[in-house]
């Protein structure tokens, strides 16, 4: 009887079953993207989806060099105030419209002028766009802007069909029309975004899937279970504790790369009354806190060694890493000595952190390490949106927080450490640093920029308003039959070249 029943159940379930189409690529995302309009959106996962839908003027390679995408060549004027780009011929948008210089002009102006645009500050340096000829465009800048290339390799450089954008206005997100390898088909909130291969794509030979589906599965255990069950082909942001599971599973593989961002402790040094503490006022105390922390052990204990320890706003792998500021090892005796020098025997401060499992474990390990140097850290777990608000309002002493990172180093430092920086929540202000960071923005010479950032880093290392701790690695898990996946430090999942082995 039981046997019959279980046979019947199995048969019934099999009847319900259907084989998934072999040409579909299913990608599991950790969050639900926000509005699908490159000018309006702000989420990281949204950018992953754009990789399928929207091409950009330029792209990056895995070593962060700029490479052609919709622009095939470019050159700077001698004074650094004009960038001329030659555009790719024969590109059409998903609605059949032709891509040309006028379309570029329209898109940049939309980023600048659409009231809902969140790209305004990124494209601020572009004063005007000239259509030189049908396939040549010139950006005129108010002052040299070394970050512009990185800007154009991200959302501000994504090209939407002017016709569709004009018709839809701020409502374009409901039916995005770009020129990427996949056409937008449908979106079910908090569930999936579906794209279908665009036959007219200029690089269509490299696209080996007929359909791409992005599925939102926030719980990392469930995301992994979906991959194991074969309901996903790729998942982003594997949780470090799950690495052994993936390694042990013969049907899965693991890919990782050091990202562009950092995690650290942001300290309130000038943001209201809460900065009036030994921690906020005395750089020696901050140095003591840094010396109490063993970055390598922290990474081992909390993340199974998955991430990369670091002490600067760019990772040790970056060409902008300042060799003159090496990562200090742990030195409890010296930390204690510094505290004594600052007139403190014992000393306590409060640190807020986001109430998720990873951040909680990191905060606890930091607390334990500091305790050995006589530093008593009071931990305050805070929901993320609240934490940001407290930080902006100056209602904090320190926060364990990070930054997702940008292709250009400017994006990791300028807005945080200049006196009037938009996200300078520690309110660190050093005119000397400002000068260096401004200068680094205004030159296109790589060597010059490296020197300027190194000098700025030396000053920051002396004042230490942010104690940089580690650089998260991006970790993906893939089904074993997915070939051709190349990890990029910006964590975008680029689809050309990816295929499913038969």
């Amino acid at each position: 009887m039981t046997r019959k029943l279980s046979l019947a159940v199995t048969a019934g379930l099999m009847l319900l079953g259907s084989a998934a189409s072999a040409e579909t690529l299913r990608i599991g995302l950790a969050d639900d993207p926000d509005v699908l309009d490159p000018d309006q959106s702000r989420t990281f996962v949204g950018r992953i989806v754009y990789t399928a839908l929207c091409d950009k003027l330029i792209d990056i390679d895995p070593d962060l060099n700029f490479v052609p995408q919709l622009a095939t060549a470019w050159s700077w004027s001698d004074d650094g105030k004009a960038l001329t780009m030659k555009l790719r011929e024969g590109v059409t948008f998903h609605d059949g419209e032709t891509f040309n210089a006028a379309a570029v002009k329209y898109n940049i102006e939309r980023s600048k002028n659409l009231p809902e645009s969140r790209r305004k500050s990124e494209v601020k340096s572009i004063q005007s766009v000239d259509v030189v000829d049908a396939m040549t465009v010139k950006f005129n800048l108010a002052a040299p802007d070394a970050t512009l290339m990185a800007t154009l390799s991200d959302r501000a450089g994504m090209m939407m069909s002017p016709k569709a954008a004009e018709a839809a206005g701020a409502g374009l997100g409901a039916n995005l029309v770009c020129s990427g390898p996949f056409k937008f088909v449908e979106r079910v909130q908090q569930d999936r975004i579906v794209g279908e291969k665009f036959a007219g794509y200029w690089n269509a030979d490299k696209i080996h899937f007929d359909q791409v589906i992005y599925r939102t599965i926030p719980d990392s255990t469930v995301r992994l279970a979906n991959l194991q069950a074969g309901d996903l082909d790729v998942l982003e942001r594997l949780s470090p504790p799950d690495i052994p599971t993936v390694k042990a599973d013969g049907k899965l593989k693991l890919v990782d790369v050091v990202g562009l961002g950092y995690q650290g402790i942001t300290i309130n040094v000038g943001n209201g009354d809460k900065s009036k503490t030994p921690l906020g006022q005395d750089a020696r105390v901050r140095k003591a806190v840094e010396l109490a922390i063993d970055r390598v052990a922290l990474n081992q204990v909390v993340f199974d060694g998955a991430h990369l320890p670091g002490n600067q706003f760019v990772s040790p792998q970056s060409q902008f890493y300042a060799k003159s500021v090496p990562m200090p090892g742990r030195d409890v005796a010296k930390a204690k000595a510094l505290l004594k020098e600052a007139g403190l025997d014992k000393f306590e401060f409060e640190m807020q952190f986001a109430n998720n499992p990873d951040a909680t474990r990191a905060a606890q390990v930091i607390q334990a390490m500091a305790a050995e140097a006589g530093i008593d850290i009071k931990l305050r777990a805070t929901e993320f949106a609240t934490m940001l608000k407290e930080q902006t309002a100056g209602n904090y002493q320190s926060t364990q927080v990070g930054w997702s990172g940008r292709v250009d180093p400017d994006g990791n430092i300028h807005t945080f450490m200049t006196c009037k920086g938009g996200i300078n929540d520690s309110r660190y202000c050093n005119p000397e640093v400002d000068k260096l960071l401004e200068a680094a923005r205004q030159t296109n010479s790589l060597e010059e920029r490296k020197k300027l950032y190194a000098s700025a880093m030396e000053l920051l290392d002396r004042d230490r308003p942010i104690i940089y701790l580690w650089h998260p690695k991006w970790i993906w898990a893939l089904r074993g039959d997915i070939d051709g996946y190349v990890p990029y430090p910006d964590a975008m999942i680029r689809l050309p070249g990816m295929r499913k082995a038969s």
Partner: protein, 313 residues
Amino acid sequence: MLTYFLRRLVGIVPTVVLVSMFVFALQQMLPGDPALAMAGEERDPESIAYIREKYRLNEPIWVQYGYWIAGVLQGDLGISLRTNIPVTELIAQKLPVTIQLAVMAIVIALLIGIPMGALSAIKRGTPLDWIANVTALSGLSIPNFWLGILLILLVSVHLGWLPASGYESPFVDPAQNLRTMIMPAFVLGTALAATMMRHTRSAMLEVLTSDYVRTARAKGVRERLVIFRHAFRNALIPVVTIGTLQFGELLAGAVLTEQVFTIPGFGKQIVDAVFNRDYAVVQGVVLFSSLAFILLNLLADMAYFVLNPRIRV
């Protein structure tokens, strides 16, 4: 009957108004700033100012409430700050999913809970009763999300029988829809079945020891008839109450279960909206589901009215 119904319907109005104020006030008390949450990592001051202006976040709370309620009365629940999609559209998208899940869960709960409860009452004190009680107790104490993850690991990963997620509308692909909804409905249903079983059991026990059942037995009515015709029917009345209430709760969204099985229903919507400080969505969805809950209660009351003449006085 009509006057009773109308009287009750009018009685709903102050409740709904109170609920709407409560929802509005409560979430304004949430720490964190929607404009800041919306502006994202870059927190560009210009776009923060724009968001404040556009969504009237600078106005006093009662003015905001006035604008909102005026919109609600015209069927406009506002626009999601995060996705620019009208809240009414979001509700229309999620409602069928949530209703389907709720109906399936309730059916499973009824199919398991009522026979089990009745049986354990009839066989009171036997091992069968004991087993049913222990099962029910486990059903009540096992957290949904844990059972959900275990089921995914067993049924999807290990046995490969059902997909771990991947909701599809029943109108597009009924088979896939069923395949993805069975597990979450089962997880929800078993938890509800436990409550249902406990209530059926105690109601049954009460009825079985009542005078009319003793009389029926004394008259020599066959035991089967006593149980099904006399006892069981009467025992069902409190169960109907519980079932209706449970259904109403399910309509507000099964937060954890939806999260685990990635079912795009109300529960997931509300959680995400709260974390993103997407006020319009929280307000709209909560208002809508509380309205549904209130109406459902009214329907249950009307059902009693029909069933039980004593209420009519």
